[in-house]
Amino acid sequence: MNATHIEPATALAELKETKPDKVTLVVLSGDMDRVMAALIIATGAAAMGMQVTMFFTFWGLNAIRKENVSSSPKDWLRRAFGWLNKGGASRLPLSRFHFGGLGTTMMKKVMKDNRMPGIPELMETAKDLDVKMIACTTTLGLMGISKDTLIDGIDQLAGVSTYLNEARHGSVNLFI
């Protein structure tokens, strides 16, 4: 009988390769500062070799919506809601000191002057580092956002089970 000899070191190395540390982030907020924190953690974790999943729901969906593209839900309530709730990575307001856009514009200027990446740049970096992005189907429906108005590169449209299935294996699970 042929016994397969496995070198323990190699076997362990492969195990590490297939089961890396996992990070999951639920992004509920659509505030620029909060989404920025989420993306910094996501890109940082990915740079550390961790597997990262971001689950966007409710206002967080605004971060993964195309700019100046509107969905046209059939009912007038959701259509009106769509006029008020504009999406786009570069249009997210600050959670404080937004001041009708003035505060956020000033913050963006300070960030740019200091070579700090903004939300659009961080999103690009996240995709570049293979951060998995999931959009929540329930809130997409609730808010009348059609999937064709989401940015390219969204890996999945899914629900709570998908999130939990990922989070179950996560060593870091955050709700932002």
Partner: protein, 79 residues
């Protein structure tokens, strides 16, 4: 300290130095040393933490310049 490859991240804040490091390290062969130059004080703690997680070796950290304009040089040996 002698390095094989240098990476200038001056002017960049967290998480960019770490992200740029993780990209740059891929260009090295195991055993080579990467020198990461940064003016973000956070690198002093972040680079050892990044090394601990990724398995690369932190082989040195140097500080240069006056107190308000410090430049940090982190040396990472590719595993």
């Amino acid at each position: 300290m002698q390095a094989d490859v240098k990476l200038d991240t001056l002017g960049y804040f967290c998480p960019m130095p770490i992200i740029l490091t993780s990209k740059k390290i891929k260009e090295l062969v195991p055993g080579q040393v990467l020198e990461v130059i940064s003016d973000d004080e956070g690198i002093k703690k972040d680079m050892p933490a990044w090394c601990e997680t990724t398995g690369h070796a932190m082989v040195g950290m140097e500080e240069e310049g006056a107190a308000d304009k410090k430049v940090y040089k982190a040396y990472v040996k590719k595993a």
